[in-house]
Subunit: 150 residues, 2 copies
């Protein structure tokens, strides 16, 4: 396989990102690949924020992965800055290729270089393969994640 | 009890906030109330960011509660914006008074007015009272929360 590049997402990447978001047992019900307008609006909001890193992984000019990393300063833990990983998706053709590991390692390295002391993420309780994946990478499943839809 | 005001935290509130962060079974080992410098630095970082709301609850000129609300735009769920609640603390004298509910309701209302479609938080697996509290407020414990210390 060709070289992998991880770079900031641009407007041209949106169709590929949304296709990956939708190609997922949970995402299938929540996304609208036929109407990209809300995604383009969201990318504009993200692009202006220095604490936001929405990236794509590209191999041979094809978008094959994505994640969003948010940097969050805070007071707790002696004024620690933490990062949060959201929206991790790997193209179906690339699952099992080690790309997920590369993307998470990128997020951890970027968090370190931005001065974070903690990286965190939540994963739906039904995604048991993902849980084993994060534990292999050194993450500890120490918390419960609560959500409230508005 | 006197009226409650929820307002943005200022530098003068830091000693009271840090005392609450430290007065906690988990926080006791992680905080340094004798050295407030890292907390003051962190508050400066937060104050310049329009997506950050670090607030205190004040009753009769006394800081009795705190939380941090972060607004996070994103692509998933049709370009949804979500919010994350962190660092919820209630002064020991006020536990059971309904103040926790008031603070979380403030966070939910603020999230709604900022256009969020989802509010989320994580809670250490050992905080079983907190889990019941969030479930009573309508949050669903649908996720596992993973952390990696750097």
């Amino acid at each position: 396989m060709g070289d992998l590049v991880i770079r900031p997402a641009t407007d041209d990447d949106i169709p590929a990102i949304v296709a990956m978001l939708a190609d997922d047992p949970l995402g299938a019900q929540r996304e609208s690949p036929d109407d990209l307008t809300p995604y383009r609006t969201a990318l504009k909001r993200l692009s202006g924020d220095p604490h936001q890193h929405l990236v794509v992984a590209v191999r041979e000019d094809r978008v094959v992965g994505t994640l969003q990393l948010t940097i969050i300063p805070g007071l707790s833990r002696r004024g620690s800055t933490r990062s949060i990983i959201e929206g991790v998706r790997i193209h179906a053709d690339e699952r099992g290729s080690g790309l997920g590991t590369r993307l998470i390692e990128w997020a951890v390295e970027t968090s370190r270089s931005e001065g974070c002391q903690l990286v965190q993420l939540t994963s739906d309780k039904t995604r048991t393969d993902a849980h084993r994946f994060y534990e292999r990478l050194g993450f500890e499943s120490s918390h419960l994640g609560f959500k409230l839809s508005l």
